[in-house]
Subunit: 235 residues, 2 copies
Amino acid sequence: MRLRGRKGIRESLERQPDLIVLDPKARRGEWARHFGNSNPIHVELGMGKGRFISELSLRNPDINYIGVDMFDELLRRGAEKARLAHGGLEEGEGIPNLRLALFNIEYIEEMFTPGELERIYLNFSDPWPKKRHARRRLTHANFLRKYKDILNGRGEIHFKTDSRNLFEFSLNSFSDMGLRMRDISLHLHQDGLREDMVQTEYELKFFEQGMPIYRCEVLIGKEALEEHISSLDLA
Amino acid sequence: MRLRGRKGIRESLERQPDLIVLDPKARRGEWARHFGNSNPIHVELGMGKGRFISELSLRNPDINYIGVDMFDELLRRGAEKARLAHGGLEEGEGIPNLRLALFNIEYIEEMFTPGELERIYLNFSDPWPKKRHARRRLTHANFLRKYKDILNGRGEIHFKTDSRNLFEFSLNSFSDMGLRMRDISLHLHQDGLREDMVQTEYELKFFEQGMPIYRCEVLIGKEALEEHISSLDLA
């Protein structure tokens, strides 16, 4: 694959303002207005090549999706993939419920106001294996505090990874923050590919290699938690 | 090894009333009096061959230990192992802080009064892999309710297993009961054998084979929980 120059990529992104958001801070608190409706907003932090968010936006037209990543080239490819998934749209033909935003997740609170989101997806985030880099892991307490703030009463975090060490770290991080978990899985596709869920590119590769995928959901919002508890049959 | 007949084993157990408790229900609410002091009581549910509880009783003379299992032969071997670990004691020479009790864990609440215990160890419990046997798993909600009852304000459950499926089930079971976990580990001896902890016979075998051991602690008592929370450095 021939890689376009940096400049070419940026120009391509600029040609797609319907799909690509290059200055997402400017949309803070304005996302509902921007989407033109009050549907729930689900965000993938670290969308990578974009398969996951693109598939979800196709399956669930009544949910607004935002994929976030910090590299121009990932956004360009993500946009390409999204248009393909949505029936081969041309540049300029928008996808009403999907946006791809160029942003550094470290400052995620600058992109959303408190309670603006309903769900955060963390898929195969960088495990940052060295202990001195623990604060960079997207499930570190510092990040969890930010997520709690920008999620609403129905707020949840859906997290999956192939990294045992990151999953272990994350389970402890959720526990230490006193967050309630649900559907913890230590080998998600143990009984075959979970077709009811959308997979990322990494995930499909790992599944083919028979490697375990770890996953859990974290209940942040008060309503989400109450609904979960009342749904449990502990008899 | 020549196995003694059933009758021979029972007679051997009966000769060791200082160490073996054949009718533990009769001690319900009387364990402190029986040990002759008010030290905390830690119980291993399913002591197997007894290495773990025997080692612990040696390391921590100020804690009273009770190993529970339902097979005569396991108790006989456990007693043998305990006497060896304590410097080769003869039958009749007691170990002040250790008892091995013959009992069916299913009725554990008949062995202890509410708040009589400080800690429960669950080591390599039977995973009962079939879904229809889920209620037999020692971390099923029905058991957790019993444990909550018999544990005191400093009460904790320490759980380890080699079974990924049992660990997954247990994490969900703890979560669903709203119990707080601590020190969740998905590969306990990843960086070498944890000499600060006592291993069971199974565990040493699995460690040698490089298989992961899963472990976590569950905070049950109010004081245990408060102390844990105040110890956390979430900055």
